[in-house]
Symmetry: C2
Subunit: 154 residues, 2 copies
DNA sequence: CCGCCAAGGTTTCATGATGAAACCTGTTGC
DNA sequence: GCAACAGGTTTCATCATGAAACCTTGGCGG
């Protein structure tokens, strides 16, 4: 009945889907990374119903992905800004974007592509590297159950 | 009323969410990358209802993320294997996993972590690089509307 | 060759999430 | 003072999700 929750899953992938695995959250982050801060920015950029947007923004603030700041020009309003946690989702968006570009578009279709602001060149593809900088394929990876300890390198 | 579709969006992020942006698809890919191939593998690994699993597998086959192969031991059954397109989602899972590890776990919590199979060490964090290998932050990126042309480097 | 069991689904039905449209509320511009 | 507008909330119909029951096919023990 109730949508199953992964909020306490031991698998990080499952747990992350609990916070951002719905239809709109990542797109809100995408727009926020490109400068959207106001309710109407998101509304027009995404074309979603106000009630849904309202609910999502509220949840994202509660989850620490966005934070509200008083609007500079209107005392009764506020803006939505990404937290560091929210900005951290940039890499997820890049990964999704690169997969999508490689698999979901056909020749000649209009597409919004990512470019290096200085040079106009496309960024490199993401690659997972081992500690010694050799690339790691899915088969080169194993999984281990541990007790969480924060990575000192961030 | 109907869940809005991003299947024809020009933004790759939006379009990808149309195919994999639901609660179970990425977790099915995760299990498939770790070796699950049979219906019951996914069912027990994920703990989801059979009807939902059935619908997801069917959609993922239709989308070219999974493909069915005849089972080696039972003529009337088949296995589900990732296509190249499906394997390409590995990087998305890694990005989600790293974000989750950095933001959703507290000290001492049990967690399933990714390790280099040879050395047991954790992989490096993903970083987006420019063509000249300098790191690119979200602010260093711009977006351009183009007609899609496949990247010759894959 | 008969009956039973398990894998791999499909059907049914109650409930929660989604989305369109209408409505509310406080400012600001005129 | 009043209309317009941003920024929501409420209402209601519809869709998707999930639990449980049911079906179907092929081994297999006797």
């Amino acid at each position: 009945m109730k949508r199953t929750s992964f909020g306490t899953a031991r698998c990080p992938v499952a747990r992350s889907l609990d916070e951002i695995g719905d239809w709109w959250t990542l797109l809100i982050v995408r727009d926020a990374l490109r400068g959207s801060t106001r309710f109407s920015d998101f509304e027009t950029g995404l074309g979603l119903a106000k009630n849904i947007l309202s609910a999502r923004l509220r949840k994202m603030v509660a989850d620490g992905i966005l934070q509200t700041r008083p609007s500079p020009d209107r005392a009764d309003r506020h803006e939505y800004h990404l937290t560091e946690k929210g900005r951290g989702l940039h890499m997820v968006l890049v990964a999704l974007r690169q997969w999508s570009e490689a698999n979901l578009f056909t020749q000649g279709e209009p597409i919004t592509r990512m470019r290096d602001k200085r040079t106009g060149a496309p960024p490199r593809r993401l690659v997972l590297h081992a500690a010694d900088n050799t690339p790691l394929a899915p088969e080169d990876i194993t999984f281990r159950m541990e007790k969480f300890a924060a990575d000192p390198h961030g």
